[in-house]
Symmetry: C2
Subunit: 307 residues, 2 copies
């Protein structure tokens, strides 16, 4: 069966993943916002470490009302825009559509399930360095693996097929047996680097090269690991070492929240900080340094959004 894909949010992430799928011959339908006119005329360009390509004719749309019902919806929006999902998703859904939230953070599948009871939901964790550098132009710098886990635990066959499509399109993809665990593991990286790069207006590389912030990054990672374990999700302490090591050898990269800060966009504080803090708190666990970072990020965001 050939799957029909919808890409909701065709930016750094959606543009890359959708572009790779389309380039490999899959049936992909892209929702664009500001870039629609540009892409209709000029197509979508992907400059990737895997090789550059230019999709001159793609199925581009300005509204989901014009899009076909799809088997798979890849939601690649920032979580700060998730409030629009309730309005824009329905035209894309048939009885068995699987909506995959390829997003950072925590608690987002729960929110979607509340808005759309009964639909099939999955979570996608993208381990990728990619940026949108201009209209219809994605630059993929490094990594790219996507891990997909079922929210309800019942659509594993479909998710495995999706993983196959990704792998055939040269995107490493993995089925996660435990979405919650995958989400917590992603937070072990996201919580220190995203927030500190904003709070200290810096880069992952500089954080790693200073003794005190290296220590702070590690402290934050351990708080997340302990919280996960306290919430019944077993993550090994070795995972912290693994994350520190892999970040050390990573090419210099600005985490997505740093880019949001630089461009004065809303920060994903809710999904990356507040939701895991709330989950930990429900289990009686404190993450004081994570909480402090959340407080600082709110102050920083308020200083440019609430004028």
């Amino acid at each position: 069966m050939r799957l029909k894909y919808a890409i909701v949010g065709s930016g750094a992430l959606g543009g890359f993943y959708g572009g790779m799928l389309a380039n490999a011959g899959n049936d992909v339908h892209f929702l664009f916002h500001n870039d629609f006119d540009f892409v209709l005329k000029n197509g979508l360009r992907i400059d990737s470490v895997l090789g550059n390509f230019h999709l001159k004719n793609i199925n581009a749309y300005q509204s989901t009302n014009e899009m076909p019902k799809c088997d798979v919806v890849l939601v690649c929006l920032k979580t700060t825009n998730n409030s629009i999902l309730k309005a824009i998703l329905p035209p894309l859904l048939h009885e068995k559509t699987c909506v995959i939230l390829v997003q950072n953070g925590f608690g987002i599948e729960e929110e979607l399930a509340e808005s759309f009871p009964g639909i099939s939901i999955a979570g996608g964790m993208a381990f990728i360095c990619s940026n949108k550098t201009g209209a219809g132009h994605i630059v993929h710098l490094d990594y790219g693996k996507i891990t997909i886990g079922s929210f309800q635990g019942e659509n594993s066959e479909l998710i495995n097929n999706i993983c196959h499509d990704f792998i055939n399109a040269r995107v490493p993809a993995e089925f996660s047996e435990d979405l919650k665990k995958s989400r917590w593991k992603k937070l072990v990286w996201n919580i220190p680097y995203n927030g500190l790069c904003v709070a200290l207006n810096t880069t992952t590389e500089k954080l790693m090269n200073n003794n005190k912030t290296f220590e702070l990054v590690r402290d934050l990672m351990f708080e997340v690991v302990y919280a996960a374990n306290g919430c019944g999700v077993k993550i090994d302490e070795d995972f912290v070492v693994e994350m520190l090591n892999s970040t050390r050898i990573m090419k210099p990269y600005a985490p997505s929240m740093k880019l949001d800060f630089d461009f004065k966009r809303p920060l994903e504080i809710g999904a990356i900080y507040s939701a895991p803090l709330a989950e930990a708190s429900r289990h009686g666990i404190k993450m004081p340094k994570v909480a402090m970072l959340e407080q600082q990020l709110h102050f920083i965001q308020d200083s440019y959004l609430k004028r």
Copy 2:
């Protein structure tokens, strides 16, 4: 008995306190660094909410070697310069000289006692908003009270006389029965406001007007109060409320660490953060948010001092 005063570090603090004492007719000897030539020629100007005055002829020195032995030495340097005390204090000391560290932080009297075993040491807590705005020019904006406590607990008569001199010079002064407690209480204010004004590049007023940083200020204050209590120094939780309220009505003011940051000077991280963290840790107490602030401040300071 008329006391002879030495002012070591005649800046925002030493210039004001020494100036007030001198203006009231006390015998005051000022050590200047960069401003020596200027002050010798132009004197010392104090613009104060208590009334402006200009001391045209003051006992100004460039080196303690030229100064008389004094009964009281007010050390008004930044703690980041305390390493020079060992070299510069000896010419000022007679058998009964009392050295008062009018400085922020913790553990500084202990350090001085190690360098000068047997001398009489006191600590001074200045509750004051004053700035040095130019060579030989101090602007006193608000408050001004000085609290002095004995380190060894044996020179209370002399300290009471010093307090009288201050009061006669229109500076509110109080003898502290418990220096350690006074130091911890000062930290309840200094730890949140100094560090956060630097880390978030902001003012006390903005910290207080944002819900999240108001909460963070309060969290930091409670960590300090709990640590003090755990170290055997009883501070009431009400003191946090008192500090929050008095800061709310304070005139907008940049804490000294913020000025140090703005002028790319070393920050008093050791005395205000590392020393109390170490003291708490010796008693098995963690101050995670205070520790995180210390880590961030080191990163920030390193970014301009370690190039």
